[in-house]
């Protein structure tokens, strides 16, 4: 591999997952994950608004899911690029609090504030951006972000919007399974056909690729953007809540804290079941105990319908790729849910091959995104991804029927040209309704946008010839341009997206996020200092009962009291520097105490030893 990293300006690769998100980069040793300040590789895709109004993201937000469930949101990826009417199913299963006025764009309530799904995702992205910046010590502004291969145009656009709101230029959206194949480096084999089976927290993808000397050509992709580990959690959760209802005589499902605690208990059991033959769901809540053992056998039986839902798309994908199962050389497993033994055996049976599981299924997508980032920066020159569009693109014609322009599994960038005319004398605009999907009728497909061709010169019906070009770029996102065939003049095309944010809305959010970023950041620093203060204050209180404390002089004890009081005085001030200063004072005042305590501890330890 020829790598020139001198010129690269830190383009990071980001896996924006349903459950967890990661940021990675590539250097001479290969792609690797950038850890957060707390050392963890995974940033849970959870966002919370603390009671003081501050934004909390990742692991601390995951904790707040238990303490402040009504101020916390998870699995928001399920809502990206979707309208209110097509998330009704999710609303029954997930505690999303939809704000009034969510008809055009979903608004989520978190405490006193409301956020759109791209804004929530932007907060996760901003955390990852910050982790990378702290790691490199320089600003990071460019990223490759992964999306499920089966994401439609609106879902992709929403992901790109999230990047913009987070202050990241999303250079490329890469399909998750394709990214994973890059990370696996299976191109070491000269030629071959591989399948990537990607079952994550909320989405399922299957892609079949042809490898040829560094070229990764996707032959076909299929999937379900609402199928994943979440569904297994919800299944177990429902059973556990039913148990509780009969055992405790209580409907815990209305108690959001109770639900979240139970949810964590079932996830814990689910994860254990991948490694042991039986695990139990344990919950202690409000003085009551619930326990239920689940064997692997029962678990497998319960989740079989969910696992089976992945097999249809796999078969369709093999067919669309124009290959037979025997021709598939390797199968790669991606996504946390592929740790489940039943999933592995189902894949093994279908593909008649032992799947690759060498790389951590949680990390492989981010690592692949980092490789793609290195391709874009020019650092990696011999690899190239040729991806496809997962869904057919068409326009509405007479009688609500779809006329397909770009078929699914077409390599992107892809384009199609269609000539439109007017139907009425003097008509000056033409409305084009673009949909995505495989069905015959418009109403059964996904409406993407309505494009309004304006400024057509008034003339007889049928005389105008407007050539419209539909172009799907390498991100899988559509753009439309129009040209008058007679005059060669470019037409303006006004886009009315059916779902998602308009450009103006995104701009406004970027503006607001910059304004709020400072306030959020300050609030966060204050909160962090208060946590520090809590820790030192409780340590001092404990030390007051220690022998070493009584060995100190009165003067030294007074100094400690004074420092503690001063810290308590500024504790509620909104000034993190002031709090930090007072913490340091307590630190200084207790240095000797700490030292003495250490010595006593050593003496104590030595007492029992014969020298």
């Amino acid at each position: 591999m020829e790598i020139d990293f001198a010129s690269s300006d830190h383009i990071v690769g980001i896996d924006l997952g349903t459950t967890n998100s990661l940021v990675a980069f590539m250097d001479l040793t290969g792609p690797r994950i950038i850890p957060g300040a707390d050392g963890s590789q995974l940033v849970p895709s959870v966002v919370s608004v603390a009671p003081d109004g501050g934004i909390v993201v990742g692991n601390p937000a995951r904790e707040m899911l238990l303490t402040h469930p009504e101020r916390t949101v998870y699995s928001v990826k399920r809502l990206m690029g979707r309208g209110l009417e097509d998330v009704q199913q999710e609303l029954k299963l997930f505690p999303f609090r939809i704000a009034p006025g969510s008809e055009s764009v979903i608004q989520l309530e978190l405490g006193e504030r409301t956020f759109t799904p791209p804004e929530i995702s932007a907060l996760v992205l901003r955390q990852l951006k910050q982790n990378a910046e702290e790691y490199f010590g320089v600003p990071v502004s460019k990223a490759v972000v992964t999306v499920p291969a089966y994401f439609n145009d609106a879902q992709r656009q929403a992901t790109k919007d999230a990047g913009r709101i987070a202050g990241l230029e999303v250079l490329r959206l890469v399909n998750e399974p394709t990214a994973a194949s890059l990370a696996y480096g299976l191109d070491k084999r000269e030629n071959g056909i591989i399948a990537v089976y990607d079952l994550g927290g909320g989405t399922f993808d299957i892609s079949i690729l042809k490898l040829h000397d560094g070229i990764f050509e996707v032959l076909a992709t299929n999937g379900d953007t609402h199928l994943g580990g979440d569904d297994i959690d919800n299944l177990l959760l429902r059973i556990a809540l039913e148990d509780v209802a009969s055992e405790w005589g209580e409907d815990l499902s209305k108690d959001s804290e109770g639900v979240q605690r139970m949810r964590r208990a079932v996830i814990h059991a689910k994860e254990h079941l991948s490694f042991v033959p039986a695990a139990s769901i344990d919950l202690e809540y409000r003085g009551k105990k619930y326990q239920r053992e689940i064997t692997r056998e029962l678990f497998d039986k319960l989740i079989t319908p969910i696992v089976d839902r992945t097999l249809g798309p796999c078969r369709d994908c093999i067919k669309d790729a124009g290959v037979s199962v025997d021709q598939i050389d390797e199968v790669v497993m991606v996504g946390g849910s592929t740790r489940i033994p039943l999933v592995r055996s189902a894949v093994e049976n279908l593909f008649r091959a032992v799947p690759h599981t060498e790389l951590n299924p949680d990390e492989v997508v981010a690592l692949g995104a980092a490789v793609q980032a290195a391709i874009l920066s020019g650092a990696v020159e011999n690899k190239l991804l040729l991806d496809v569009t997962p869904l057919s693109l068409g326009i509405e014609t007479m009688g609500g029927v779809v006329s397909k322009l770009i078929h699914r599994n077409s390599t992107i960038p892809a384009s199609a040209t269609e000539v439109f005319t007017t139907g009425v004398d003097g008509q000056t605009n033409v409305l084009i309704h673009v949909v995505q999907g495989e069905r015959e009728l418009v109403k059964d497909n996904r409406s993407l946008a309505r494009f309004d061709l304006k400024g057509i010169d008034p003339m007889q019906a049928g005389m105008a010839r407007i050539e419209v070009r539909f172009l799907i770029d390498a991100n899988g996102i559509l753009s439309v341009t129009a040209r008058d065939q007679r005059t060669g003049k470019e037409h303006t095309v006004e886009v009315k997206p059916s779902y998602g944010l308009t450009d103006e809305q995104v701009e406004k959010m970027i503006q607001e996020s910059f304004e709020k970023a400072e306030a959020d950041f300050a609030a966060r620093q204050v909160r962090e200092q208060r946590v520090e203060a809590d820790a030192i204050l409780s340590a001092v209180e404990k030390a007051r009962h220690h022998d070493a404390y009584f060995e100190m002089t009165d003067e030294e004890r007074t100094a400690i009291d004074r420092a503690v009081n001063e810290l308590l005085l500024v504790y509620n001030a909104e000034d993190h520097l002031l709090i930090a200063e007072k913490i340091e004072q307590v630190n200084q005042a207790t240095l000797k105490l700490a030292e003495n305590m250490m010595n006593t501890a050593v003496r104590g330890a030595l007492k029992g030893t014969k020298i």
Binding site: L384, T411, A414, I472, A474
Partner: protein, 186 residues
């Protein structure tokens, strides 16, 4: 619009070597893909987008023998409109008439038409294979002669193929539907 053959830099033939086509496609993809232009000015990026989408469109068209044939026919001024595939090729009139009767019976819930339909499916599928051989022969003929006559024959043969393919699909659909809701009459 860019000529697909010229864009791929391959000889203008109907009987194409898939290996050469794929090799050229990969070579050009490495040159033209937008990934390669990320650090270039916006106009160059836009041009890469245009060029690589044209390249992908060209490859998609030329690698499929039927799409390739339609493309060449259209370029040579032949009408490739869809409506003509509805006309029954005269030599098939009788068979199609009988088939339609059987299809009607099957749809009406009369499962006794099933063996006839299964037989028809086989015979039309065989016919499809024959037509494909004819198409391949016409490809070679046209490449050698460049005659419009070969193209005209190709046009007719493609219509015939489309027609038969639709028949096979229709039979398959009807048979599958019959499986889902078995007739209750007996």
């Amino acid at each position: 619009m860019t000529d697909y053959y010229a864009l791929l830099g391959i000889p203008r033939k109907l009987d194409l070597s898939m290996d050469i086509l794929q090799q050229r496609y990969y070579e050009l993809s490495r040159e033209l893909h937008p990934d390669r232009f990320m650090r270039k000015p916006a106009e160059e990026q836009q041009r890469a987008l245009e060029m690589s989408s044209a390249l992908n469109d060209a490859y998609r068209t030329l690698k499929d023998p039927l799409k390739r044939a339609m493309y060449v026919l259209a370029q040579e001024g032949f009408d490739i409109g869809e409506q003509r595939s509805k006309d029954v090729p005269p030599e098939l009139l009788e068979e199609v008439f009988e088939l339609n009767m059987a299809l009607e019976e099957m749809r009406g819930g009369d499962d006794s038409a099933r063996p006839q339909l299964v037989q028809a499916e086989k015979s039309f599928t065989n016919m499809l294979a024959e037509v494909d051989t004819q198409i391949q022969t016409l490809f070679v003929q046209y490449d050698a002669s460049q005659s419009r006559d070969a193209l005209a024959q190709l046009r007719t043969t493609l219509n015939r193929r489309k027609y038969i393919q639709n028949l096979v699909a229709e039979v398959e659909r009807t048979l599958a539907a019959g499986h889902e809701s078995p007739a209750t009459s007996h």
